[in-house]
Assembly symmetry: C2
Homo-oligomer: 417 residues x 2
């Protein structure tokens, strides 16, 4: 299949199947123990479902995404799509069960409705709104296998042994763990197969069933191909899963730091030394020099260290902030900007300098409105080489801490290294 | 059973069974994708297994805890026990599989060895080193049920459908989710039952089996009672689970803040107003006044806001730090101390005051050695009532942020509200 070429290549190939995705998102949040349904719970202030939409819409060969939400949440969902600029999303009303919601999504794709831009795909992906970390790789695998087998789904090894209880609440038997798997998402189907299965299946299936692969087997005699998925496919189910998802997202957007300097020619520059220190102290983090800021913003770097040596004001930081605001980089994730000043306490009165720098609080309040988290950092710059090393190291530690936590309660603070 | 009386009461009752626990902790960390076995991964700088030991040893009616670790990790485990002052722990060498490790633990309890303080219990709990959030409640339930039924284990509803693959990697059949459960830990057994089962069972069972309840059924014909457990019983398996565990622990130790003041009589005191603001702004957090510090430390409050109004130095903070260091409160969790000063910028030169307060960096470095995280907070105290409200609110936000994140990279910083 040309699909295995993936990405843009597949888009051009005429044998690439038309692919759509259906996302049931009508569930309530009962398992979380919180009032908000879990797909709408915020992570870094953005609803979980937006991360899942982002994961699907970056895949160029997925043409349409149909999301099934309750009538109650329809307006909220429209706002999410608009605010986070999601493209190619259609909304349908969810049913009272997961299967009924999926069925509604499939109907929207099957029917040639007036004023509807959807058309029937060859293959349809079914995914969960609460599995935001799905990768293009596994989507491609289930779609390719569905084209060949009619149906395919991601699986994972079992973490716990599965047992069957007797009616009196005692162990009847336990299942051999090695012979069973957990059925996860995404799954993919030839559209005609899964649509037929939903049209044929009983009300009992629609009310109490949980497994699409089962419907394809029962009503269309299609044995789904099983695809080994990564641990990241797990379903955000409990409050602890929201914590885990937040930590994973924070970690992912903290992998790159761009250092911007106001003195570009001098390699002896203390800013370069801070950059070197960041490289040495922060393993696994890519430290980039900000020579081509437009390019770095395009590459989605979410962390900026802005070094001001020549000037004692925020001119360089202001330029960077303006660029960031124009770029829309911070629509999806909070962007961290740390404005660094160096100071030799012995030559400049410390207190006076700090008072001057306190205006960063006003800037921070202003740019927070566009999801930019601005902090100040004052690095001690003594004559003594060893002391300088120490304050640069301390500066790197503070920068790492601010980027890792992305704490909006501390914006506008002036930290001292 | 007198056990249902729980706690200290059960201890006195002569019909309370002697209970021991066995913790297999010989596993390697392969599923985490990290070199450290997961039971030794640090959370807030303390190894995961220490949290699990803490959860078991706080239960007064568990007399002995036997931990099975590899010869390689024996010394590290001894250090953990010493450093975190765990009591009543015995170490045995683990086997190459989970079942063999549990068997080694049971043997240590069964045998009357010279120089060994262990004695054979009536009931034995088997738990995992990587399930740190086990509550006394569920331990009591499995022990009580084991006494009656011979065996008992915690279960949870399935999060995913379980399927059985055919040899060619396709779906053979899926299991009805409502008729199955995940078998979790803790489990409990009459000692003679589970010891007999391990002595009878085959090498194949010891090598490839995963389920203790299954051994009791197969070799002793005991149908274990199944006990519905809470979501918190989940097993820390992947890196994301470590993130989740860290967030849960941080949340748990952030539920109470003690406000300590240097002026105790005056209710108009700005410190009282900060305390009120904390109460209003931080929902779900208990804000306590520090009138009886010894009592509050005993109650395991891990967060202190120390307000200095009468003095402009750190006298009150020093007193608190000394008390905390003597109490050993910070052995198990990092304790946050925020030293608050108020300042009317218009009457005192701002810079001079800050220079004076910078000595907090040295204090912070010093107390970090005993796991105390010290931060400074300077709150603007203007004449204008509305502005004062605003700076108190900002102060509460910063206090909340520092307590929530417990970030050791920012200790010694002087934050400004
Ligand atoms: Mg797309
Ligand atoms: Mg005990």
């Amino acid at each position: 299949s040309l699909l295995s070429g993936a990405g843009a290549g597949a888009e051009a190939g005429c044998s690439a199947p038309a692919v759509a995705a259906v996302l049931p998102a009508g569930g309530s949040g009962e398992r979380m123990g919180v009032p908000t349904p879990k797909q709408f719970c915020p992570i870094l202030e953005r609803p979980l479902i937006s991360y899942t939409l982002q994961a699907l819409e970056r895949v160029s060969w997925i043409k349409d995404i149909v999301v099934a939400v309750t009538g109650e949440n329809m307006e909220a969902m429209k706002c999410i799509i608009q605010r986070y600029q999601h493209k190619g999303i259609s909304l349908v009303e969810s049913g009272v069960t997961r299967h009924r919601s999926i069925f509604n999504g499939l109907k929207a794709l099957a029917e040639d409705q007036p004023n509807c831009r959807l058309s029937k795909p060859e293959v349809v992906i079914i995914h969960d709104a609460v599995r935001p970390f799905v990768e293009e790789d596994v989507l491609l695998k289930v779609v390719t296998a569905a084209k060949e087998h009619g149906a395919a789904g991601a699986i994972r090894p079992l973490v716990s042994t599965v047992i069957s209880p007797s009616v009196d609440g005692c162990l009847d038997h336990s299942l051999e763990r090695a012979r069973h798997r957990a059925s996860e998402m995404p799954q993919a189907f030839l559209f005609d197969v899964i649509y037929e299965a939903y049209q044929q299946c009983s009300d009992y299936d629609l009310e109490f069933g949980t497994e699409c692969l089962h419907l394809a087997l029962k009503y269309c005699h299609i044995k789904a191909k099983l695809i080994e998925g990564s641990p990241d496919l797990w379903k955000v189910t409990y409050k602890r899963d929201l914590y885990a998802a937040e930590s994973i997202i924070k970690e992912r957007i903290s992998q790159q730091i761009c250092v911007v300097m106001d003195a570009k020619e001098d390699e002896e520059h203390v800013g370069h030394r801070l950059e070197e220190m960041l490289k040495n102290e922060l393993n696994h983090v890519k430290v980039t020099s900000g020579r081509d800021l437009q390019q770095i913003i395009l590459e989605q770097c979410y962390n900026f260290v802005c070094v001001n040596v020549m000037t004692s004001d925020f001119e360089e930081t202001q330029k960077l902030l303006n660029m960031l605001e124009e770029s829309n980089l911070s629509i999806l994730y909070p962007v961290v900007v740390i404005s660094v000043q160096f100071l030799d306490y012995e030559s400049v009165p410390f207190g006076q300098k700090m008072e001057n720098l306190m205006q960063i609080r006003e800037f921070a309040k202003e740019v927070k409105k566009t999801n930019i988290l601005l902090y100040g950092l004052l690095v001690y710059y003594p004559q003594d080489e060893q002391k300088l090393q120490e304050s640069l190291r301390q500066g790197a530690t503070i920068i790492a801490a601010l980027i890792k936590e992305r704490n909006s309660g501390l914006i506008g603070q002036l930290l001292v290294a």
